[in-house]
């Protein structure tokens, strides 16, 4: 009974938020089966056009690799931060947070300067005689991955750090006292206990990666076309809103399906740090 009263209090806001979220989603769903005419022809394109399948596959591949790379790197950073003195940790946290404010565009161009054909790294490699020809780090999928992983690391760090800081250090000491060396302790105790953080970071990074647009466009040299950019082209340039909303619906569905599958293996509230 008590609960009901509280729900009443937040109901207006809840309704507003639901309307603001639900309305665009319904709108997109609706467009995907009505543009340009009613029917499922937009979804049929998925099977008819190898190009759509390829874009989706590129998107999936790049996002999965990005997730893997960013979570791996984020894990190392978070681990380091979790084991620093709190003063140093807050410094590092500041750096991590500051990086959120550097625009994607600036970062993408910074990578070009660093890794381009005549960039700093290739310059160093050639002048040191390690290679004769510049190595193609950017303007391809590798470049997209470098840029996206770099961008996503802070997103991976935060949930991982929260997870790691919540761990009881005595549990790891207990493992040592029971005869397990550092590696065994990591594999059998630390890693399993940071699994919720890894899941949270992975979901976060993966879902955000799906929306990436600027980084692939610049660092991919125009050859790594991902769903988000394709959707925006369909909306803004070719005016094929049906195709665009079909892809958007598909991606939304994919994310929801992912969350649902995960929720069957673990409590999502736990993954996202809420204490049940």
């Amino acid at each position: 009974m008590r609960l009901n009263n509280y729900w009443l209090l937040v109901a207006p806001l809840l309704l507003l938020v639901m309307a603001l979220y639900a309305w665009p989603v319904i709108n997109i769903l609706w467009l995907s089966v009505t543009e340009p005419q009613a029917g499922l022809q937009n979804y049929e394109k998925l099977f008819a056009s190898s190009s759509l399948a390829r874009i989706l596959w590129t998107t999936l591949r790049v996002c999965l690799l990005t997730t893997f790379g960013a979570v791996l790197a984020g894990y190392l950073v978070a681990y380091m931060m979790a084991h620093l003195a709190s003063g140093e940790r807050s410094w590092m946290l500041t750096f991590v947070l500051v990086s959120f404010w550097v625009s994607v565009l600036v970062r993408a161009f910074a990578w070009l300067t660093l890794l381009g054909r005549n960039g700093l790294l290739n310059g160093a490699l050639i002048s040191s005689g390690l290679t004769d020809e510049p190595i193609t780090f950017v303007r391809n999928e590798l470049g997209v991955l470098i840029g996206m992983i770099h961008y996503m690391i802070p997103y991976a760090v935060l949930p991982l750090l929260a997870n790691m800081q919540g761990l009881d250090g005595r549990v790891m000491s207990a493992s040592r006292s029971l005869g397990a060396g550092p590696l065994v302790t990591f594999r059998r105790i630390y890693l399993p206990l940071t699994m919720p953080g890894i899941f949270a970071a992975s979901i976060l990074v993966f879902v955000i990666s799906l929306g990436f647009y600027v980084t692939p466009a610049i660092l991919g040299g125009g050859r790594v076309l991902m769903a988000a950019e394709y959707i925006s082209v369909q909306v803004l340039v070719t005016l094929q809103w049906g195709t665009a909303s079909m892809l958007a619906t598909l991606m939304l569905g994919g994310v929801l399906a992912l969350m649902f599958t995960l929720s069957r293996f673990m409590k999502l509230s736990e993954v996202f740090g809420a204490k049940a």
């Binding site: 603001l20 005549n118 960039g119 303007r139 990436f212 040299g221 125009g222 803004l236 340039v237 094929q240």
Partner: protein, 369 residues
Amino acid sequence: MQDKNFFKELLTKSAEDFKAGRMDRRDFLGLCAVAGVATYAVSIGDAQAAADEIVFWNWGGDAVKCHTDSFGSPFSTDSGLGFKVDTSGPLQGKVKEMVDSGNITADVADADAFDAIALGKSGHLEAIDYSVVDKKKVLEGFAWDHGFSAIFYGYGFMYDSEKFGDNPPSTWADFFDTNKFAGKRSLYKWANGAIEGALLADGVAKADLYPCDVDRAISKIQSIKDDSIYWGSGAEASQMIIDGEVTMGMVWINRAKAVEADTKGRFKLVMNEAIAMPGAYIVPKGNPAGRENVMKFLASCQTPERQINMLSCHGMTPANPEAFAMIPDDLKRFAVTSAENIDKVVFNDPAWWAENGGDTLNRYLDAIG
């Protein structure tokens, strides 16, 4: 990037609703507070339209200053109307969205001719009043029902004169010949110009370009795919050349002068077979300043001196034949419609692009990916 923009977009949408009277002030401010965003951070576009000013919708960058200095300020002086620039980029989809939403915030958009035709057909544009705008002040064939050209721009290519100085490339056939001219190429990612360049390279005569044989163009483009990278913005195109990523690169002609300067003359522009693109000034249906005001403004953009200013400032070539002879000597080389270039270039056919642009772009994107 999407994520950061999410709240802004949500709020922008709400801001539109608020303006359109679908949401009251208190809800809107409450939502802003929830999102932790100050109200001033949220506005639609960069400018708010009113009846006593012209809002010019362009692509930002140098164009803001150039459009203001060349067209906006002189017009304000003459007419007493204000002039503002919205830099959010009038892509077809945005124009359509704006008009469909009933919340029109721009009076003129700096668009392409094929946009004028496509959006005119779908009913999103005001018709041009040719009793105010003078058809004779537009190069023959570049005035349509819902837009006209005040300027031309175009696609040419630049080459590395240190590599190919002795026997410089001069045609699209040379551009596509990576055996004879080694090195990487850069092309425009949104298909325009690249399709025409590929067809010319493959031996199609200028006169037979349209309707484009897209299959043929794409297979030509794919033949150098491994040596190609693609750019989406003019800045990127310049960057690819200045950074030495390519030995030949497609560029927007209006940027070529700056690139030549930046590379100290190492990269040179080829104007032969350049694809001239008719720009089009279009008016979103129901524009806030009213049809009469905006037509007066459009007519003022036909003034030869003002078009020449635009050329000096932004490299956009005049479309008014009266201005052709006024092109300064040092800019003749870069001007699509100068006497030395006008017969070498190929004029884009906006009617074909208006009809086939979307499908062509999708096929092109698929082919280069």
